[in-house]
Symmetry: C2
Subunit: 508 residues, 2 copies
């Protein structure tokens, strides 16, 4: 069923000579399927096709685009166990996660379908003419949002379905009326091809123009670079590392015509635990966080990588309990040997810093590619003085900072880079005194969770998944929820148009 070829519009194409295979981290073996990287010509063809498709696709009604999105969801479900097995084979993630993520992916597609069925999301705004106004008449003006053009989507390593081929970026762009070219993630090219085939089948069945979707294989950075630089491409969606996202942002900013890049990048998701909470609920919080830190082997962008506390006996007890509990949770494999080795290397680098110590790590003897969860601690002063301690360690890792006092804790927050989330764990009797902490944290993050964990990103309208740089390259948008569609549209005004030439939604 896997061809290893690129989907360029409705054709399968493999003109290149550069091939690669994906890897099963659980078995520690290469998978057998061979993928052919897209050539410059194939990349250009996909962009030209997308640009032609845009002319038709942008005029297809919301109802028809919704039918297309629903057909994609149906086709993904119709792939059944084939998709689940390929997902597991290429990510090492367990079956329950595969099925859960598939559910989220089709859920997102259907959510956007419901959202665009009614044109209200295009925010029709009508200012009627006032021909008798003095000193000059007021013209008739009517505004709606229109799509910006072909969007390139970069699949994420840690969400082979929900943030990849038919993930949130693709779903929101297709919903907006923008064709999509996916730069498939090299770690799960087979999962990508299966989902791409579902999208192509759905596009044909619902009579969408050829070029509304393409899927390109790549093992390095060249395909992505060429796509972002292509004059026919008008926007970019990316989920991944700061280095990768920033490189694409820089490339897009250097174009003759710069284009918007929405890159959702790393985050260490600071968690603040107040002195009273840490004393009153030591074990409860330690258990909750041991699970949050190790969930999905720590491979979530909202993983709590930084816990801010104030030094005390209770804090010492909490750290010790958190370490013990984390060390007993079964190890699991990471997405890829490269991710596993980066985890080990980055974690060790943190531990090697001054005044920084390893509290506990997974006690078992894990097999190849399995991550040893680690709890590390340092002082507030050491953290403030050492930017190396601020860096994300992607995996089941968390650094507990013991601050001298509240002032130092606040100072640390103001010195953090932008983050997707912040979390506050506090007792009811402390609420009245939390306003400075909330505001200081709000300035650095896109979402604050109260008395909970940052892992788990609910897909709904009130969700903000994004935040000040480098959490994302444009904090003015969210990557999750219906409002993510606003990244791919622009306002357009009709002045003094005859009614017969106005779009239906503006004829009032």
């Amino acid at each position: 069923m896997i061809t290893g070829k690129n989907h360029i519009g409705y054709s399968l194409s493999a003109e290149g000579t550069k091939t690669f295979r994906t890897f099963n981290p659980k078995e520690n073996t290469e998978n057998k399927e061979v993928f052919t990287e897209a050539t410059e010509d194939e990349i250009d063809n996909s962009a030209v096709l997308a640009s032609k498709a845009f002319i038709k696709y942008r005029n297809i009604s919301g109802t028809k685009r919704a039918a297309f999105l629903r057909a994609i969801a149906d086709e993904i479900e119709a792939l059944g166990d084939t998709l689940v097995h390929m997902y597991m084979q290429e990510s090492g993630l367990p079956e329950a996660r595969a099925k859960g993520e598939r559910g989220r992916t089709v859920g997102q597609l259907r959510m956007f379908a419901n959202y665009i069925e009614n044109d209200a999301w295009r925010q029709p705004t009508i200012d009627k003419a006032m021909p008798d106004r003095n000193p000059i008449p007021k013209p008739d003006l009517r505004k709606i949002y229109i799509p910006i053009g072909p969007i390139v989507v970069f699949g994420a390593s840690n969400f082979p379905l929900a943030y990849s081929t038919a993930g949130g970026d693709t779903a929101s762009a297709l919903a907006a009326g923008c064709p999509v070219i996916v730069k498939s993630h090299p770690m799960h090219a087979g999962t990508g091809e299966l989902v791409a085939s579902a999208i192509v089948k759905a596009a044909k069945d619902t009579e969408m123009p050829e070029g509304v979707f393409s899927n390109l294989n790549s093992s390095g950075i060249e395909v992505g670079q060429q796509l972002v630089s292509h004059p026919k491409v008008k926007g970019v969606g990316f989920t991944g590392s700061i280095n990768g996202g920033r490189a694409l942002y820089d490339l897009a900013a250097k174009r003759k015509e710069p284009i918007p890049v929405f890159a959702e990048m790393g985050s260490i998701n600071p968690v603040v635990i107040t002195p009273k909470a840490i004393a009153n609920r030591t074990s409860e919080i330690a258990t909750m966080y041991a699970h949050s830190i190790t969930m999905g082997t720590g491979q979530f962008c909202t993983n709590p990588g930084l816990i801010l506390t104030i030094e005390s006996e209770a804090t010492s007890k909490f750290i010790s309990e958190l370490g013990k509990k984390t060390a007993t949770i079964d190890a699991y494999c990471m997405l890829h040997p490269n991710i596993h080795s980066a985890y080990t290397k980055n974690g060790n680098e943190v531990i090697s810093q001054l005044e920084t110590t390893l509290v506990a790590e997974y006690k078992g003897n894990p097999v190849e590619n399995y991550a040893k969860a680690k709890i590390v601690t340092t002082t507030g002063t050491a953290f403030l003085n050492n930017p190396k301690l601020h860096q994300e360690v992607f995996g089941p890792f968390s650094l507990v900072v013991q601050c001298k006092n509240e002032a130092q804790l606040l100072q640390i927050i103001t010195h953090l880079e932008g983050q997707l989330t912040g979390t506050i764990i506090a007792e009811k009797e402390e609420y009245a005194g939390l306003s400075e902490l909330i505001e200081t944290l709000q300035d650095r993050v896109g979402r604050i969770i109260f008395n909970g964990v940052p892992t788990g990103v609910e897909v709904c309208d009130a969700m903000t998944h994004g935040g000040p740089y480098p959490a994302s390259t444009d904090s003015r948008f969210t990557a999750v929820g219906n409002h993510a569609i606003m990244r791919w549209v622009r306002p357009f005004s009709y002045q003094d148009f005859p009614a017969e030439l106005l779009p239906e939604i503006l004829k009032k």
Copy 2:
């Protein structure tokens, strides 16, 4: 009344040694007031003050911010003739324009005041918890838009009031809850200082935090560069040339933390006249456009610099009439000798291109700094092959392109850079056949005007003032109307917050 100093928060400051004077283009003399350019320390002080003010200002209620905006409008009006005379002295623009632009400026401030008095503009979105949901409970999520931080505003040469010190960018940023630092335009530093003093008085009277506004003098590019690079600055609003806007955009993109730049830059505002319209309404359209081209001495960003027609006898007659009418309209002075000499140079460069001829120019013998309006014509083929003909000639200048046929006209539109506006002049019986033209034009512009002129930008919610690059650096926003506020805000989510810690608008 003019001190020539910088407003750094509530202090007047002139630590620098670099001074300059403004110019009266009508009298062709330097004005007597001397302005002191801001130093590096003064720039840093203004940014640090703005950043401190932000912590307070973002929490000031919409009602109080509205009172501040209204007080600014009142104080501007209270400047009376002093402001009108300074405006005229520094721009050469006539009294009616000064008063009209002042009306627009205070109107914008009051419009934003009305808009923010009710918090609905912050788009409160509430998704309530579902604790019993399977397989996992749904958390309580509540989202609103919050301000992004201190904004730097660059005054525009051609709108000393409405797009400068207290213009649309300043008004929308202050409305959003963002402090503003204005990089005053060197051509109207006195007008800028007067308006700045009105803003500072209003800020004190309504008890706004010091640093909510600063106004910095500058004669070169250094002050602006340092402001855009300052880590405390979180956004930029600019109106001006492509070179200036792009340089700031590049600088902002290169920062460690890139920040959004909304630059509204040049535009040639293509106008399409159909064969029937040009034949049926030759004189009417020629008269309408002779006035639009010369209005404000052509110094509007929506000036119709490009008229696309299909060659015919009627078209020849139209061009000749347009030339005659334009040549008889009284010349007027431009904003500055530099703008006048650029106008002459750029216009002559267009005229010197192959297959391009001067149809007519103002027949009088204008005095120094007065612009000779010019109508120039070329062929569709010459225009397609020569990018020099696509460039804006800022001033009372328009290039009429005679295309071979409709296909060539459409081809020209697809090859244009992004524009603020497009205009279609057509007859009723042609409407049914216009869809391809409308869509082709829509792809290149932010607004299409039907059977009218592009000059005159109505300030209302349904207005889009912006467009694909280089009309603006981010087509996803408008610079005019209430929705311009969205450039300076980002979504923020509260998850599982106790009701007592939620902002009032989210307590439901």
